[in-house]
């Protein structure tokens, strides 16, 4: 790996993170794959090929517990306060960020224990579909009479919020309170320099809010994960709060993007949208292809090597941060034939949209079914939907990537 090549790839990475390229980073990801592993200026190693990322996520020599700021942490391409922000993350468990104290930021054995407990109290079977359908139906009903909608504000955001609140046992009417906290925390996860500062206050307030819920459930059990975990003998309030918080944030920030990216993709492929209208079960392989083609989580920066690890011809030294470019791996031609083609019936689609290995997306069952229900209903009921802005305005975050607004013109609602 020559110095020039490293510098070149660092430039590519910087351009991926640059908001100017938010709408279409994929040609840049393709360039990134030219060098499967390289060392970024802040010392992290960036890996972008499918085979190597898959192998690393199954490699016990990498872990996450040294990474305490959840997802994100200085990846900035240049100098600046944010560049080392992985180190600025603070003590585990108390830090701002999605994962602070939750099992996403832990290694086995602690990770396994917490995840197992959470799994046993989190409903993700097909029993969740009727409720999702009811909520989706209501949201679409409210679009009656409109000629123009914002799919994000009117559907892609409220649906996952409603679903995750129900599954967690968080009162839906508190949404106006925790929405700004969630936004602030997500902004703090933006890996670009200077974004991490605002979240501490929001984080503390959210923790306090959740702790209040947990204490109430300890006294009077209710429905959902928080109540279930509150009743578990071996769990502290802090552990329950951390878990609930991680799922509350992850449970809507990512699913919003899955649905919005999904609808955007369908509107760009109208023949697929039409097929979906006539063959609702097409949504099943279609959602998997969306998870590959436009993954809501584009980059996973939470890992560190616990020992020297060979990746391709590279040796990543012990104690190094690793940045996994999942969106690049999902378009790796060595794994996916014709990778830049959106093929709703693609076979052999072992995508990384939900990761792999022990940190495989905890809520994948919920998210997947939510996207299936959402896209089927949208396809069925929106009459003659057209994109009003292509590309639409994007959220700033390059890691949790999706449109901030998705303005769509419609003739009506069926």
């Amino acid at each position: 790996m020559t110095e020039e090549a490293t510098a070149g790839q660092a430039g590519v990475l910087a351009r991926i993170l640059d908001y100017a390229n938010r709408a279409n980073p994929y040609p840049l990801y393709a360039e990134l794959r030219n060098t499967p592993v390289f060392r970024a200026p802040n010392g992290a190693y960036v890996v972008s090929t499918y085979r190597d990322i898959w192998a690393l996520m199954h490699d016990p020599r990498i872990g996450v517990s040294a990474m305490s700021a959840g997802m994100g942490g200085g990846m900035g391409g240049g100098a600046g306060a944010g560049a080392g922000s992985g180190a600025a993350a603070g003590a585990p468990g108390g830090a701002p960020g999605v994962g602070g104290g939750a099992f996403i930021g832990m290694d086995p054995p602690a990770h396994d224990r917490l995840r197992r407990l959470a799994t046993s109290h989190f409903e993700q079977t097909e029993a969740v579909r009727p409720g999702m359908l009811r909520t989706a139906t209501g949201l679409i009903d409210r679009m009656q009479g409109k000629q123009q909608i914002d799919l994000v504000d009117e559907f892609a955001y409220p649906l996952p919020v409603s679903v995750i609140c129900e599954q967690l046992g968080v009162p839906h009417e508190d949404e106006p309170r925790f929405h700004p906290w969630s936004e602030a925390i997500i902004t703090a996860l933006d890996p670009r320099p200077g974004q991490q500062d605002a979240a501490a206050q929001a984080s503390a307030e959210m923790n306090q809010y959740m702790a209040g819920l947990v204490e109430r459930f300890r006294v009077e059990p209710g429905q959902g994960l928080l109540s279930g975990l509150a009743a578990e003998e071996g769990l502290s309030t802090q552990e329950v709060v951390a878990t609930g918080r991680m799922l509350l944030i992850a449970g809507h920030e990512t699913t919003v993007n899955l649905i919005a990216n999904g609808m955007l993709t369908l509107l760009r492929h109208p023949e697929v949208l039409e097929r979906l209208r006539d063959e609702p079960e097409l949504v099943v392989p279609l959602v998997e292809e969306l998870l590959r083609y436009e993954p809501p989580v584009q980059i996973d920066p939470k890992y560190m090597t616990l020992d020297d690890v060979h990746v391709a011809e590279f040796m990543i030294p012990k104690g190094s941060r690793i940045i996994l470019a999942l969106a690049a791996a999902n378009r790796d031609p060595n794994r996916f034939p014709d990778p830049d083609r959106f093929d709703p019936e693609r076979e052999d689609n072992e995508h990384l949209g939900f990761f792999t290995g022990i940190h495989y997306c905890f809520g994948a069952g919920l998210a997947r079914q939510e996207a299936q229900v959402a896209l089927t209903e949208l396809a069925r009921r929106l009459e003659n939907p057209r994109l009003l802005a292509d590309p639409p305005p994007y959220r700033p975050n390059p890691t949790l990537r999706g449109p901030r607004h998705l303005p769509i013109a419609i003739d009506g609602i069926r």
Binding site: P60, P108, P109, D307, K318, G357
Partner: protein, 464 residues
């Protein structure tokens, strides 16, 4: 009519003897590979191919019916099914298979995939008692289910290998009293060694199994109605039982090849790295192939020693290589390079292995803890990693597969998650093969393609 050497795809007649997993997958691979000629599948059971692993698990526990185990098949397979009459002889020169119903089937190319059967209870009179059962096929499973439904006072499982252990697990899930006897010091000793086998022993006892190791059953006794009621053990004890499941391993179905001139015997049908069968002089044949449990083939990863594998993945992958090689000229053939992989589900735990644990002399826990029954154990031979076993840690297994393929140093020195405080290297404690156990499912059969007699390999460090 033998077509020109190396040219086969368009016509010709392929006969596959053995209509189970390997036979079916070979047939599918042949069709997918472009074979358009006649394809005949011969099976001794009257059923189309079905999956065996569920028989000792969810079928036995009553969750699933034995007849629900039929395997999915590619549509348009276009196979002539000759079911219910197995092969009884092979005329190699005349290229004919003789069937049990007296019919002959001619072939241009032959795939031998006759698999294994359960080793029977050695005393035929006792074996004929009602309630004395071996579990290999659908009918066995149905018979055993009927016995279990009758509410036996106690089930005796003879042999604590994978099959015996799974059967005990299913019986316990039904709330039945179970005694398991095992000649070796622990369950799974032949497959995983005594050190890891000790964890399996704890798992069994925790789940209410009356496990007796270092003990064997000397005789089974029946009542006047001819139903088994009692078992005598060599430690002098007697058990009152109503069912005796004999789980003493498998025997290769090679008797039908006696006198055929092929290198076939109790240890299996010897084939080369391309699945072509050897004749009894050690010369490879042109038109006869073997795949699955019945085959013993040289493994490059293991010093080209012939291994006979009783693994599900082996049946499929070897069948696919055999099918490919049947259809291709020499220059385009593929070697069978397969690292053995295996799973067993018992007592709510998923046990998986990769590599050849019996090659290992030492074992070390690299992740997790045996106390929690969640761990990764790595086996070493002469300073190299040769196998790994996981208990409920299956997501890590592919990493260890890679380590085995690289012949990574043993014991592992790297730092990893869930690393035990002390990484203690222990002897793996595989039983001396001179002491017969249930059957290790990986049978090391030496380096000779023509050795047909059964000789027990010497203990650790010896050579065949």
């Amino acid at each position: 009519m033998s077509p020109a050497k190396g040219v086969f795809s368009a016509d010709g007649h392929v006969v596959v003897v053995g209509a189970s997993l390997a036979g079916l997958r070979a047939a599918e691979a042949l069709r997918k590979g472009g074979f358009r000629g006649r394809l005949t599948l011969v099976g001794d059971e009257p059923y189309e191919p079905y999956d065996r692993p569920p028989l000792s698990k969810q079928v036995l526990s009553g969750r699933v019916a034995p007849e629900s185990t039929a395997l999915p098949q590619d549509s348009g397979l276009d196979v002539e099914w000759r079911l219910g009459a197995g092969a009884v002889g092979l005329d190699l020169a005349g290229k004919r298979v003789r069937l049990a119903d007296g019919q002959d089937v001619s072939f241009d190319r032959l795939l031998i995939a006759t698999g294994t059967r359960a080793r029977p209870w050695p005393n035929p009179t006792e074996a004929a008692l009602d309630g004395v059962i071996t579990l290999r096929g659908r009918d066995d499973a149905a018979r055993l289910r009927r016995e279990l439904d009758a509410g036996p006072r106690r089930v005796l499982v003879i042999g604590a290998g994978f099959t015996g252990s799974e059967i005990a697990s299913a019986c316990r899930s039904l709330g039945l009293a179970v005694t398991v006897t095992e000649r070796a010091a622990t369950p799974l000793a032949g497959a995983l060694g005594g050190t890891i086998g000790a964890v399996a022993a704890r798992l069994q006892r925790e789940n209410g199994v009356d496990l007796r190791c270092g003990v064997s059953v000397t005789s089974l006794e029946g009542d006047d109605a001819g139903h088994v009621r009692r078992a005598h053990l060599d430690d002098g004890t007697t058990l009152e039982i109503d069912v005796a499941v004999v789980a003493l391993g498998a025997q290769r179905n090679t008797e039908w090849l006696r006198g055929s001139g092929l290198g076939a015997g109790p240890r299996g049908v010897a084939c080369d790295a391309g699945c072509r069968v050897f004749d009894m002089y050690g010369i490879v044949t042109d038109d006869v192939f073997a795949a699955g449990d019945v085959a013993r083939s040289p493994h490059p990863l293991f010093g080209f020693e012939f291994l006979a594998l009783e693994h599900w993945s082996n049946a499929i992958e070897q069948a696919e290589v055999a099918a490919h090689n049947m259809l291709h000229a020499e220059s385009e053939r593929r070697p069978y390079l397969h690292v053995p992989t295996f799973w067993s589900f018992q007592f709510g735990v998923g046990i998986k292995s990769v590599g050849v644990p019996p090659l290992g002399e030492e074992v070390v826990i690299v992740q997790g803890s045996t106390d929690e029954r969640r761990f990764v154990a790595v086996y070493g031979h002469a300073g190299r990693t040769v196998a790994a076993v996981t208990f409920d840690q299956g997501k890590w297994l592919e990493f260890y597969l890679d380590q085995i393929e690289r012949a990574a140093p043993f014991p592992p020195q790297y730092r990893n998650v869930a690393q035990p405080e002390v990484r203690q290297v222990l002897p793996a404690e595989f039983p001396d093969p001179v002491v017969p156990t249930e059957g290790p499912m990986i049978v090391r059969t030496g380096h000779s393609p023509t050795e047909r007699a059964w000789t027990l390999l010497p203990a650790r460090g010896g050579r065949a």
